[in-house]
Symmetry: C2
Subunit: 208 residues, 2 copies
């Protein structure tokens, strides 16, 4: 009974957007309320703190954005390495578009937030780790599939996934710091090189 409301959803959306555009610490509860057009009383009706809202916002980000996109891009019906390159190309495009729209490269919200709050807000940083862990599985899986199809050189999938995540998130971070999406332009190529992808060679290999 009683009435229903989407104020909590608006709060999550506003929080994520603001924190992404600025930073966790720079955004106040009042800011979030203003952007969401929700009064403080309602904020505290739904959430107990900014941290609790951030956790909910991150989970929503995963459920409504990341998971659907990952599921479709990393579909098993696509060649393993193509999953990766299309994912990264789309990512590059989205960062270019964000820069055109907001004037800023914003990078990966989970990593930015995680790095900022890792020593402070344990609940938020636990959620970030959880989400990054879920994402990692897609990388590990694609590496295993590429190994099975022998389109990359032999390696330890877990370790390669770590390196891959490092390379990707590292360059995304640099792109945010430098405000330059072009850093991400040949991320697909760099990734293939890191994985030692066997280029679709014209069948015969020449020997010296």
């Amino acid at each position: 009974m009683g009435r229903t409301s989407d104020a909590d959803e608006r709060l999550k959306d506003a929080a994520l957007a603001l924190i992404w555009e600025e930073s966790y610490g720079a955004v106040t509860i009042d800011d979030i309320c203003t952007r969401a057009d929700v009064k403080k009383g309602s904020f505290y009706y739904f959430f107990n703190s900014k941290a609790e809202l951030a956790v909910a916002a991150l989970e929503k980000l995963w459920a409504t954005q990341w998971k659907p996109r990952l599921d479709s891009t990393f579909s098993s019906s696509v060649e393993p390495l193509t999953r990766l390159t299309t994912y990264l190309t789309n990512f590059y495009n989205s960062q270019v578009e964000t820069k055109a729209r907001v004037g800023r490269v914003l990078g990966c919200p989970a990593c930015s937030i995680g790095s900022e709050v890792s020593t402070q807000e344990i609940d938020v940083s636990a959620k970030v780790r959880e989400i990054l862990g879920r994402k990692r599985r897609y990388y590990e899986s694609v590496i295993r599939d590429a190994l099975a199809e022998e389109t990359i050189e032999p390696c330890d999938p877990a370790q390669k996934a770590t390196a891959l995540i490092g390379l990707i998130e590292g360059l995304v971070g640099q792109a945010r710091i430098m405000n330059d999406p072009e850093i991400l332009r040949n991320l697909p190529a760099m990734t293939l090189e890191l994985l030692r992808a066997k280029v679709p060679v014209p069948s015969t290999s020449a020997s010296a």
Copy 2:
């Protein structure tokens, strides 16, 4: 004439330490003053804002920590790839030590601060970019030297440096988020692989 003081130096040290351990946004001017044992009046005698202090602190970090270490580790008297591996091994060790001492992997202050404030504090983020740019030259130089000695496969030095920085800073960021220094353990090996280092082969190469 007049009296002298090292309060400004203490402020820079305190600011850097606090921001590194927590984050830029989480640290207040009062916090910094308390840690430095300096009163607020003195703070404003030396600096106009937290941002201005942060810029000075970053420059001090470069001048007293990074530059000396880089100059000695990346000495031309050492083999190119050895410069890199010893640098990264030392870095791994220092992060392990930090974790043991503070209970936390803190990563790279410049990258953490840069990612956090890039959309907010333009002076701070400009200083971060400046310092990261200086550091980049060491990487580019080591890659060019390795190319000259033919200990790595042919490549474009600038592009490889970007990838190298991405990999390193990315894994450092992950280590901070995960609070796990072991992520950095085989950073040297990953780096050599990214660079396609020619392993010191026992002279003859076997062909199938």
